[in-house]
């Protein structure tokens, strides 16, 4: 699936829930199912700057594509990075760098996060795009 198709699939998934507690529950489930990083990977230099909780993001160039791994100490932050990984993982670096992430707006996530947490989300996206640019 392309980045756009991945985003559309996520929007569909979330449309299934009316209540925001259920949407959060889904984010939490995504966080729980994201494969955790090994403790030795949880290094200072992998920390995403600008997040209130600790979020580690690791990326590797695999041909034209970028492979991502991530972890977080808070589960909602982990769920959010899991969503981003769902969209960006193993996509071409150039496309990640140029992607517009409409799904965040469409799910309504940005409006539902406090400003500090919305900043954290923006920092995660920025960090993923910086990796992609470096690998493009």
């Amino acid at each position: 699936m392309t980045i756009s198709e991945k985003q559309a699939a996520l929007v569909d998934e979330f449309a299934f829930f009316d209540d925001w507690m259920d949407k959060y529950n889904h984010i939490i489930e995504m966080g729980k199912s994201l494969k955790p990083l090994n403790d030795e990977d949880k290094q200072e230099d992998l920390l995403v700057q600008g997040c209130q909780s600790k979020v580690w993001l690791k990326a590797e160039k695999q041909g034209e594509a970028v492979k991502f791994w991530a972890d977080a100490d808070a589960i909602i932050a982990k769920g959010i990075i899991a969503m981003l990984i769902d969209v960006f993982d193993e996509q071409p670096a150039r496309e990640i760098a140029q992607a517009e992430l409409d799904f965040i707006q469409e799910i309504g996530l940005k409006d539902h996060l406090s400003p500090t947490r919305a900043n954290g989300l923006m920092s995660m996206i920025k960090q993923m795009k910086i990796y992609a640019l470096a690998f493009a």
């Binding site: 507690m21 959060y24 939490i28 209130q52 100490d73 808070a74 589960i75 909602i76 932050a77």
Partner: protein
């Protein structure tokens, strides 16, 4: 007389609203309290009727604004038991109050001297002293805490010694709720001739402090934590101390005469009030003090103590619930962790259910480091909170925990 909670809640219209479809339960009072109608009305009344700059024009509005502001200065003097209203300085907040003193002491403190604070302080009572010590070569010392979050006083005589210039500490800890043994610390400070500052940020809404009973050199309060407007702090200083300190900021209001070569400074309190003051904030704070006193600070404190006991008992039945800060003497702050959950996640899910709590380090990073934790979730109670709200809080917490585990 029974505690008239319905009347009190009716004075805080903001409480009557839904957040994410649930009734708002506001438990972030240690960060800031809500404002009663009387405070908002006083500010509106001032802007509709009396607004003018103070201490200058001879015109009627200016005189009214000046009288209103100076009336509150006298009201604050009475509230904290100062000798004279000139000892009451209006600042921007506690941060500015402490910076005013720490900056002023830069010309007085010697490199061999030390400043003593505690391991329980808010960043606003740490950083200004670190800056003072960096500028002057003086040393900063800490009174440590134990695992309950209480100050450890057995080495007080070594920590506060004859080279101690200032002992500055909070009355009540904002992140743990510990009520500190003020008299014991003051006694030692007085014995070595050190200056003293008590930070009343968290005690202002719960306890009446008399600065002469404690013979304090400095005392500071925050209006917005006492049901008053934001942007206003109170700095009390003994006349001789305030006279010894140089002014913190230069500008209008704080001068006696200005020539292009040299200015002379006004008498206290104006020496420390450069620029146009926060007039409506002062007036609103006067209304807040009247409102608190009309209910009675001791009555409020008793209500909050009941809420704290109720919440402590009730929440402790949640599996894995740990209170951070279990001092024998505590004010209405409940800092906690729950096994298998992160405080940030709890904060988000509580908010989704209408419950407002604080999460994080509460501007007290050294305390969190000492407990080896990244932060806590903190519920703090005020005069308008109820046991029913604590029940809602507990139910919301239980659903959050079920989702997170």
């Amino acid at each position: 007389m029974a505690y008239d909670i319905d009347y009190i809640r009716s004075q805080f219209p903001i409480l009557d609203q839904q957040v994410h479809g649930r009734p708002l339960v506001y438990l972030d009072n240690a960060a800031t309290t809500q404002k009663p109608v009387a405070v908002v009305d006083a500010i509106s009344h001032y802007y509709y009727n009396d607004n003018a700059n103070v201490h200058r024009g001879v015109h009627t509005l200016s005189q009214r604004a000046t009288d209103a502001m100076e009336g509150v200065r006298e009201q604050v003097r009475e509230h904290i038991g100062a000798r004279e209203s000139a000892e009451i300085i209006f600042t921007r907040g506690i941060t500015e109050s402490i910076n005013t003193i720490a900056f002023g002491m830069g010309t007085l403190i010697k490199p061999h001297q030390n400043v003593v604070i505690t391991a329980l302080e808010h960043h606003s009572n740490i950083v200004p002293w670190q800056m003072l010590c960096e500028r002057t070569g003086a040393t900063l010392r800490y009174i440590p805490i134990n695992e309950k979050g209480e100050l450890v006083l057995h080495s007080l005589e070594e920590i506060i010694d004859e080279n101690t210039a200032m002992v500055a500490f909070n009355h009540i800890s904002n992140s743990l709720g510990t009520i500190n043994p003020v008299s014991t610390i003051l006694m030692r400070a007085k014995a070595v001739g050190a200056w003293t500052l008590v930070d009343g940020a968290q005690s202002g809404p719960h306890a009446k402090v008399n600065v002469q009973d404690w013979d304090l050199d400095f005392f500071t309060l925050a209006s917005h934590k006492m049901y008053g407007p934001t942007g206003l702090g109170i700095l009390y200083g003994k006349r001789e101390r305030l006279e010894a300190l140089p002014p913190y900021q230069g500008g209008g209001e704080m001068i006696a005469t200005v020539t292009l070569e040299k200015s002379t400074y006004a008498e206290i309190p104006h020496k420390f009030e450069a620029g146009t003051p926060h007039i409506e904030g002062v007036i609103g704070f006067g209304a807040a003090l009247n409102f608190m006193n009309s209910i009675g600070i001791e009555t409020i404190a008793q209500h909050e103590a009941e809420l704290l006991d109720y919440a402590t008992d009730s929440l402790s039945s949640i599996e894995g619930f740990t209170i951070i800060g279990t001092a024998d003497l505590k004010a209405s702050v409940l800092s906690f962790l729950i096994d298998g959950t992160h405080p940030y996640d709890l904060g988000v899910l509580l908010d989704q259910q209408g419950v407002a709590v604080r999460t994080g380090q509460h501007c007290t990073q050294p305390i969190m480091d000492q407990f080896c934790i990244a932060g806590t979730a903190r519920a703090s109670f005020a005069m308008y909170n109820t046991k029913e709200e604590i029940d809602l809080f507990k139910a919301a917490l239980e659903s959050a925990v079920n989702m997170l585990r």
